[in-house]
């Protein structure tokens, strides 16, 4: 069920460009205004407003107790959030950068993901962990990781990643409202992407777990999410010149996985390429390709291909463009999709 929330700070007027960063900030603000149990905590989220300014203004509006600058300690931040959630609060944790979240992995895997299960439902943990992730912004080492496969491999967590300004707002609202822990992966190179937001028009709050077809096509399906969505949409436009009419599916949620939307698309097109920026080996693409193959084998005209980051530690910024899957690499994969009839 899709509900809609009016854009906050609404003043009558024409649509204005809003960035993904602003949409995320508004989602936090609206959630906090609506529900006094929502608390934001993390390093630099208060006075500074976060290093990406997502939490800008929240401490001023809601006070230090609702938007809290914590000591610099990710396990402590997430561990404290567990205790806060045990007492009925709804903590939203900011991990400053993808690779900074690793010290909190034990809390995440041993407690956040399991508390509901080990207490047989008595103690759900409605925690949202916001993780700016991925590369493409010229960040130095440890600032550009795509960690989604680690989170996907842990039962008990939802893994959500928006690719559009509307989804950034709608999915973050839904994640905060969820009674389960959500790893909310923010594609940081899309923070400054823009969409026109009409101040009065409602922005849909999407339920977690639904993929969406961003571009309809008949020749093949590009399955993607987060930072790779714009790459795929651009590739699909470029492919028209080659005679390929590509469909683009934005997963939006990796856990739960929307098998239905993905399989329906691949059954229509008969060919699929999974595109993401994290490493291919042991990465999300392998899981997605397997699921597609299991469900669509008799509809497939070609093996499901993957276009992923190389299986290397995230490279230094001056080389990252060679690592990140770009339009050409996507089109190369599409070209390899056995377009000639097999004899």
């Amino acid at each position: 069920m899709t509900t809609a929330a009016a854009v906050p700070g609404a003043q009558t007027g024409k649509p204005k460009p809003a960035t993904m960063a602003q949409a995320l900030g508004r989602a936090l603000r609206d959630s906090m205004a609506e529900d006094p149990s929502v608390h934001v905590l993390g390093e630099d989220v208060g006075t500074l407003g976060g290093v990406f300014r997502i939490t800008d203004g929240l401490a001023k509006e809601f006070g230090d107790d609702r938007c809290t600058d914590t000591p610099l300690a990710e396990a402590g931040i997430l561990g404290a959030a567990v205790g806060m959630a045990m007492y009925g609060l709804r903590p939203v944790v900011e991990m400053q950068f993808d690779a900074f979240a690793y010290p909190a992995f034990e809390q995440l895997i041993s407690h956040v993901a399991k508390m509901r299960n080990r207490t047989r439902g008595a103690m759900p943990l409605p925690i949202t962990v916001r993780v700016p992730y991925g590369g493409g912004i010229g960040g130095v080492e440890h600032h550009s990781d795509s960690s989604e496969a680690y989170y996907m491999a842990t039962p008990g967590l939802h893994v959500v990643t928006p690719a559009t300004v509307d989804d950034a707002y709608g999915l973050l609202r839904a994640s905060i409202a969820s009674d389960d822990p959500v790893i909310f992966l923010e594609p940081k190179r899309l923070y400054w992407s823009k969409a026109a937001w009409s101040p009065d028009a409602p922005v849909p709050v999407e339920p977690i777990g639904r993929a969406v077809v961003r571009r309809s096509g008949r020749s093949a399906t590009l399955i993607t999410y987060g930072p790779s969505l714009p790459v795929c949409l651009e590739a699909a436009e470029a492919a028209v010149a080659e005679g390929w009419d590509l469909e683009v599916v934005d997963l939006r949620s990796l856990v739960p996985f929307d098998d239905e939307t993905v399989a329906a698309s691949v059954r229509r097109t008969g060919r699929a390429v999974v595109v993401h920026e994290s490493s291919g080996f042991g990465g999300p693409g392998g899981e997605i390709a397997a699921r597609v193959t299991e469900r669509c084998f008799h509809h497939l005209e070609a093996p499901v291909l993957r276009v992923a980051g190389f299986d290397i530690p995230y490279p230094a910024p001056m080389l990252e463009r060679h690592h990140l899957p770009g339009v050409d690499r996507v089109l190369d994969a599409v070209a390899r999709l056995q377009w000639e009839a097999q004899s």
Binding site: H39, D65, T70, P71, A73, A75, G76, L78, G79, A80, A81, V82, G83, M84, A85, M86, Y87, G88, L89, P91, P103, E106, Q107, S110, H111, K114, M115, R116, N117, R118, T119, R120, G121, A122, M123, P124, P155, G156, H158, S178, D179, D180, G209, V255, P256, F257, D259, E260
Partner: protein, 386 residues
């Protein structure tokens, strides 16, 4: 040539950077050099006789519980049991010092504290029996799940106490950890958060001498574990962990301090693990009998019994009555633990998410088919036998 002889050295006078001053005076935070004691000292005269008798009855019951649970491992009724024999004073005092609305955050060895707080003795053992990770509703008893990873429950205690204070509730959280757990990063982060947030938390370290086989000297170079408190800006208290009256007094002070809004305290209780780490461990590989025997003379039940009988508060009849009450508890525990637990395999899928995902629904259906086939096979076999 020394530094003083260097050209221009005499002219150099180091000055502190302009803005710097210590945040906290460390002196009041430092623990006393000797562990605090009550039993066998003049201080015992001031102790509440009713409390001492209650501690005694619970200590005897706790010892019996440890013996019974260890016996259950030998009968295959428990997969494993980490005994707290010798540490009962810490366990019981931790439970009795809390008010009903307070929260206890136990580690895996702290079953006794949970039971003394009112948890069903069988529910406390389901983790170790292997049928459920947590056999009880944490909110009902205000006892967090018994925690197996080391020190990870400490930041939870901080967060919960912090949340309660934000809501204006009078709640104190008492978190228990062992000497080995103090080396974990989560211990550090929890203490730091608690002190910065002035959270109403009490950290109780049961220093029982060993982290499985590793002795304290290989665990820390600190003067004592209580000394670690000063680095976080909270008081450290050192107490004789086998002196139930002393542990209760020190914890009561720390809880009262937290309740007054003055922040967390780190309490180190010096005690000894009389049994091996668990029934699966061979303690003779890392410690000598003479050390164990020396501690036997400092047994927590013995200390309290001596005090109570010496002051005419307890006689032979009272001792027998305490033992009998403990035996009744043990018999009930034994009987209920000898019944096979009834488990529903389909419950594997019920509490992973608030709403089951499509993927889990498919997997649950697969298990249902397997279970039905098993049942059919079972029925067929029964038919053949008939």
């Amino acid at each position: 040539m020394t530094v003083q002889e260097l050209p221009g050295a005499a002219a150099y006078r180091p000055t502190p950077p302009p803005a710097w001053k210590p945040l906290t005076d460390p002196a009041p935070l430092l623990p006393d050099p000797e562990p605090h004691r009550v039993l066998g000292t003049d201080a015992a005269a001031g102790a509440d006789p009713g409390l001492l008798l209650r501690l005694y009855a619970e200590l005897v019951r706790g010892r019996r519980y440890n013996v019974q649970a260890t016996a259950l491992t030998k009968q295959g009724r428990l997969a494993v049991y980490p005994s707290s024999t010798g540490q009962e004073a810490c366990e019981i005092a931790a439970a009795l010092v809390l008010e009903e609305q307070d929260w206890l955050f136990p580690s895996y060895r702290d079953t006794l504290a949970a039971v003394a707080r009112g948890l069903d003795p069988v529910e406390a053992l389901t983790l170790l029996r292997g049928d459920r990770h947590t056999g009880y509703d944490p909110r009902e008893h205000r006892i967090a799940p018994l925690c197996t990873p080391l020190a990870t429950q400490l930041p939870h205690a901080v967060g919960l106490a912090h949340a309660a204070r934000l809501k204006g509730d009078d709640v104190v959280a008492l978190a228990m950890v062992g000497d080995g757990g103090t080396s974990e990063g989560d211990f550090h982060e929890a203490l730091n958060f608690a002190a910065v947030w002035k959270a109403p938390v009490v950290f109780l370290v049961q220093n029982n001498g060993f982290a499985i086989s590793v002795p304290l000297a290989k665990q820390t170079a600190a003067p004592s574990l209580a000394h670690k408190a000063v680095g976080y800006g909270m008081p450290g208290r050192l107490v004789d962990g086998n002196d139930a009256a002393a542990v209760h007094e020190v914890l009561a002070d720390a809880v009262a301090r937290a309740r007054r809004g003055e922040g967390p305290t780190l309490v180190e209780a010096v005690t000894y693990r009389m049994d091996a780490h668990t029934n699966a461990d061979d303690a003779t590989r890392y410690r000598v009998d003479s050390e164990v025997e020396a501690w036997r003379a400092h047994d927590p039940i013995l200390l309290l019994e001596r005090e109570l009988t010496g002051r005419g508060l307890l006689d032979e009849d009272g001792i027998v009555a305490a033992k009998e009450a403990a035996d009744v508890m043990a018999a009930g525990l034994r009987e209920r633990m000898n019944a096979d637990p009834v488990l529903d395999p389909m419950s594997l899928f019920t509490h992973v998410y608030a709403e089951q995902t499509e993927q889990l629904r498919e997997q649950a259906a697969r298990l249902r088919v397997e279970l039905d086939a098993e049942q059919d096979q079972h029925d067929d076999n029964a038919e053949e036998r008939r």
